[in-house]
Symmetry: C2
DNA sequence: CCAAGATAGTACCGTACGGTACGGTTCTTT
DNA sequence: AAAGAACCGTACCGTACGGTACTATCTTGG
């Protein structure tokens, strides 16, 4: 039970502790994330940990909230869209999405939340969903809406269109990385993957006929 | 360290034990999967567990191998393909894929493997990948190849085409379910989702022009 | 019927971890 | 400067779990 509702957040000192905890989680997985370990890594006492975050679950929640607050999705202004600029914006979005999903902190937190999903009624999973996907989904939604207003895209259901775009970009890559597949290997392919996905998406939802691949 | 290579598998009694263990895992998550718990649920002694499976990790590996051996992907013969029958086959495949991914045992095992991914060098994750996705991917590959031979599909890279199909079908649904989102809710949408995904796929890779949605 | 192996049930051991308590030190406030 | 709060470091407690040992029971083959 942590207060993650409005914007109380935490003090700089507490954020530093959360940073250490994230580092610990990334390096050693959940098994390494013991209260004693966090205290040692952050040079703080266990007593302070329990005072600040309540219990271990409170630390986990705080870690997710803190990380989400760090990864602010930059809201880009996309006016005067042309077919080419829309495609370029979409490709950038796709690359950013892939970069976020393949980040070690993101992967570690997703693993953590998935591991706890059957325990705590998916509290952490809901947080990740809310703070992570909703955020980046909003950015994509804005982009898609702008494309539609410019007459470049055609769709009725924005959520569905975004889902399609997401699926084309990510496919089963996220799951494979979560299962432990070497991330470095897959990262080399990101640019090509982003472009192919966007091309396919424009094939499906674009109003202008895309040029066929040779 | 378990011997999962060829086909030694396990005795009926041991399979029954693995069944109990899977039940336990599905009901209570990994925390509930203690050696004492498995022994109690299966009415066997801990000593037998360690004799048969070596250690706790051996039990986990055996569970994955056992479950994979149960879910045999039926290899369907798809000859004399027409445009309609190809679409029908693809829709069936999509539904089957969604059903498999949303199965409680599948979700529990994926959660388990993901939770261990940072620990054991992704042993379990590799097993799941190998036994799970490769299997169902082969079925899809056969279907796609048949479609291409019949002149109904056009693609150079079968893996890529399958990846696109997978992404269109699943999008981020698998991850959401792994994070704890209510599965029953999403299951209602499976038929529609399967059809939409296949339609989009045929839009991208089909040779005949699909009819536009009204 | 008996010996030998396998297994269930239980008791036991060591360790690791979540959570609490406490003494000593530093920082803040008045 | 004194008083008080915050905090670090450590010690401590209870429990839970992985793994082992032992005994009683059951099965099986001669």
């Amino acid at each position: 039970m942590s207060s993650l509702s409005t914007h109380p957040e935490f003090s700089p000192r507490q954020n530093a502790v959360l940073d250490s905890a994230l580092r610990l989680l990334v390096d050693g997985g959940e098994r390494a994330l013991t209260t004693a370990g966090v205290a040692r890594a952050a040079n703080c006492s266990k007593e302070s940990l329990y005072k600040w975050f309540g219990d271990r679950d409170g630390i986990l929640s705080a870690m997710i909230g803190y990380q989400a607050s760090k990864v602010r999705t930059l809201e880009e202004r996309a006016e005067t869209l042309t077919g080419d600029s829309l495609r370029a914006h979409l490709v950038v979005f796709a690359r950013d999405l892939l970069d976020v999903l393949s980040g070690d902190v993101s992967l570690a937190l997703n693993r953590l939340a998935i591991g706890q999903a059957s325990r705590d009624g998916a509290q952490l999973g809901q947080m990740l969903q809310e703070r992570g996907r909703r955020q980046i989904g909003k950015r994509a939604g804005g982009l898609l809406d702008a494309g539609r207003r410019a007459g470049l895209l055609r769709f009725d259901n924005g959520e569905e269109a975004y889902g399609t775009l997401y699926g084309l970009i990510v496919t089963d890559l996220h799951l494979r990385m979560l299962l432990g597949e070497d991330v470095k290997l897959t990262q080399q392919d990101f640019s090509r993957r982003a472009e192919r996905a966007v091309d396919a998406f424009l094939d499906l939802y674009g109003t202008k006929r895309q040029m066929a691949k040779p």
